[in-house]
């Protein structure tokens, strides 16, 4: 990793004979976090992980192009399992299947758990921790970089899919409000899942396995049954905000839709805000206190 100015530089002693030495103060938490964000954004965007992210968000765009092409060529209506679907319905289904159920949790896992783990693995965390900045700011800065890098890749993909799909027997105007809600929900999803997985990455030794288990086993299982267990998932609060009906494309999702207990808007927002704040704070706290031992 390349080091960069953190805004805290000491003047070489004796460089200006006779000049009084300025008192040196460490930069504030926010300033330090923004410097780390600036440093990390480029690294995240131009890393090998971005290829995976482009694949994840590129598939829906390619599918949208294919659907649009087939629609234009055949002139007939699009059918899913023998059911004719218009553009807004197809878009709603793609938001559920490609973005909410897959892209948001998966990208959050791969980036969120790696915020600190990558630095430990590459043995470059020392460079960051030897800087006179709060350790928690390193995590927060990297978290902000993760958020920015996922949003600037995923949201345009959603927008392109919307522009391609919705005009098929649908109206851009009537589905515009839903699009704005979708974009906000996806951004919220990245923020909350990212905060949670940042904590997982900072707290556990094998964060990837735990994160994958959380998303694909725990959340699915908890959402499958009626009761209070679903309140211990992020999906429960996030899916409650989605303006599109949940597609019943499999036995699991059919059961989920049957037992779906939609929290109120206030509950969803409060739940997500609490999860976000608590886990981001916990993650920063762990990074502040944990003694990282680099394996030789």
């Amino acid at each position: 990793m390349t080091t960069k100015s953190t805004g805290y530089e000491t003047e070489p002693s004796g460089s200006r004979p006779g000049a009084s030495t300025k008192p040196q103060t460490a930069p504030g938490f926010l300033y330090a976090a923004l410097r780390v964000f600036d440093l990390s954004l480029g690294q995240m965007l131009w890393s090998r992980r971005t290829i995976f992210m482009l694949l994840v968000v590129g598939v829906p765009v390619i599918m949208a192009l294919i659907i649009r092409f087939i629609d234009a060529m055949s002139g007939s209506t699009m059918q899913v399992n023998g059911v004719v679907m218009d553009g807004p319905a197809i878009f709603g289904m793609m938001i559920w299947m490609f973005f909410l159920r897959f892209s948001v949790p998966v990208l959050s896992i791969f980036y969120g758990t790696a915020l600190i783990a990558d630095e430990v693995e590459d043995k470059t965390i020392t460079f960051l921790f030897t800087r006179p900045i709060p350790r928690g700011a390193v995590l927060v800065g990297k978290y902000l970089a993760f958020l920015m890098s996922t949003l600037i890749v995923v949201l345009p993909s959603v927008m392109i899919v919307w522009l391609l799909i919705v005009p098929m027997r649908g109206s851009l105007g009537t589905s515009f409000i839903d699009l704005v809600k979708d974009l906000l929900i996806l951004a919220t999803g990245f923020a909350v899942y990212g905060a949670f997985f940042a904590w997982v990455g900072a707290r556990f030794k094998r964060p990837l396995m735990i994160a994958l288990f959380f998303v694909f086993a725990w959340e699915n299982a908890a959402m499958l049954f009626p009761g209070y267990m679903r309140r211990f998932t992020i999906a429960h609060y996030l899916q409650g905000l989605v303006p599109h009906a949940m597609p019943s494309d499999s036995a699991v999702s059919l059961l989920q839709s049957v037992f779906q207990e939609i929290p109120t808007l206030g509950t969803s927002i409060a739940g997500l805000a609490i999860i976000w704040a608590v886990f981001l704070w916990l993650a920063a706290r762990i990074v502040e206190r944990k003694e990282y031992v680099l394996e030789q």
Binding site: N81, G82, L155, P156, M159, S171, F176, V180, S248
Partner: protein
């Protein structure tokens, strides 16, 4: 931030801003081609502006459909009625009628009118109406035929009126409604000016050969108080159907607000789950599984499909009376 990162961020922002601006303009009706304000059949130009329900059927498409061909083979009685109608009016339903657009206004029956587009013989139809006691009056430069039918006790009742609004468009319905249609054509004050209704028509008119859209209050106002008070707060409905080898139909409702739509979705979801759990008969399991609940925001949509294979099954094995042995 490096130059490449800055370019990527700018490109991403540009796509987002472009999409959001396009959506915003479409939302406020600024892009006619995207808001489908000119959607629907040309006959909508004759539909009075205050119509609350509009229905459409692409008769030619339905008549040419695979389903219709199958039904023709098992319903020979249909052929006799068709020939009788053709003898009297010169109209062959299978070939001469292309489309039908019907509209119901706020006055219910008195504001109901249908527009038949196709190939007609006005002279023969007018002669037939006069032969049955009809009267011809001039209205708005059109020949309006007022129908009169005999009641059982020797009195005469007013029957539907008809007029050729265009050479190939026959308006038929209650006399005030037909007059209003003639006025609508002359003044240009028609349903296409109703942007709210046209937006909904725009979403149903492509890909379906049968559809109907309307304001729910038109129905609710005519229902008994006990029933209307229990109806969910629905503002608009849109029913669509596509008839080809099989049938695909959908019913979409637009509730008053998101919460009302959510409640309605919950009710429908419960009902559908019950139907799916009880469809033990494999013949109907496919039909039950095809029932799909969709919708977002204020919209609730239920659709189902009867595949061609199931139609064949119904024709071969029942229901009773479909096949004349």
């Amino acid at each position: 931030m490096t130059k490449n990162t800055r370019y990527l961020a700018l490109g991403s922002t540009a796509i987002l801003v472009f999409g959001l601006c396009t959506g915003l303009v479409a939302y406020y009706g600024g892009i006619p081609s995207l808001t489908a304000s000119h959607a629907g059949p040309a006959e909508l130009e004759f539909v009075p502006a205050d119509a609350s329900i509009v229905a459409f059927a692409d008769v030619r498409d339905v008549m040419n459909s695979e389903l219709r061909q199958k039904l023709r083979q098992v319903l020979p009685g249909d052929q006799q009625k068709r020939e009788e109608l053709q003898r009297l009016t010169g109209i062959d339903i299978e070939r001469d009628i292309d489309r039908v657009v019907a509209a119901v206004g706020v006055d219910g029956e008195q504001s109901t009118v249908a527009f038949l587009s196709g190939r007609f013989n006005p002279t023969q139809i007018e002669a037939l109406a006069l032969q049955h006691g009809g009267q011809v009056v001039e209205y708005g430069g059109k020949r309006l035929i007022r129908g009169v039918k005999e009641a059982g006790d020797g009195r005469h009742e007013v029957a539907p009126a008809l007029a050729f609004i265009e050479g190939n468009v026959l308006a038929i319905g209650a006399e005030p409604a037909v007059r209003k249609a003639i006025d609508a054509r002359a003044s240009g004050q028609n349903i296409t000016a109703n942007t709210e209704l046209m937006k909904i028509i725009g979403t149903v008119s492509t890909g379906n050969n049968v559809w109907a859209v309307g304001r729910m209050d038109s129905f609710v106002n005519r229902m008994p108080q006990e029933i209307s008070s229990r109806m969910p707060p629905i503002e608009w409905f849109a029913a669509t159907g596509r008839v080809n080898g099989g049938i695909h139909a959908s019913l979409r409702a637009e509730a008053r607000d998101d919460q009302a739509a959510e409640n309605l979705r919950d009710v429908v979801k419960g009902g559908l789950a019950l139907v799916k759990m009880q469809s033990g008969d494999p013949k109907f399991a496919a039909l039950a599984n095809s029932i799909r609940l969709e919708g977002s925001g204020k919209t609730v949509s239920v659709s189902f499909s009867i595949p061609a294979e199931m139609i064949d099954l119904l024709i071969k094995s029942g229901p009773a009376g479909l096949i004349h042995d």
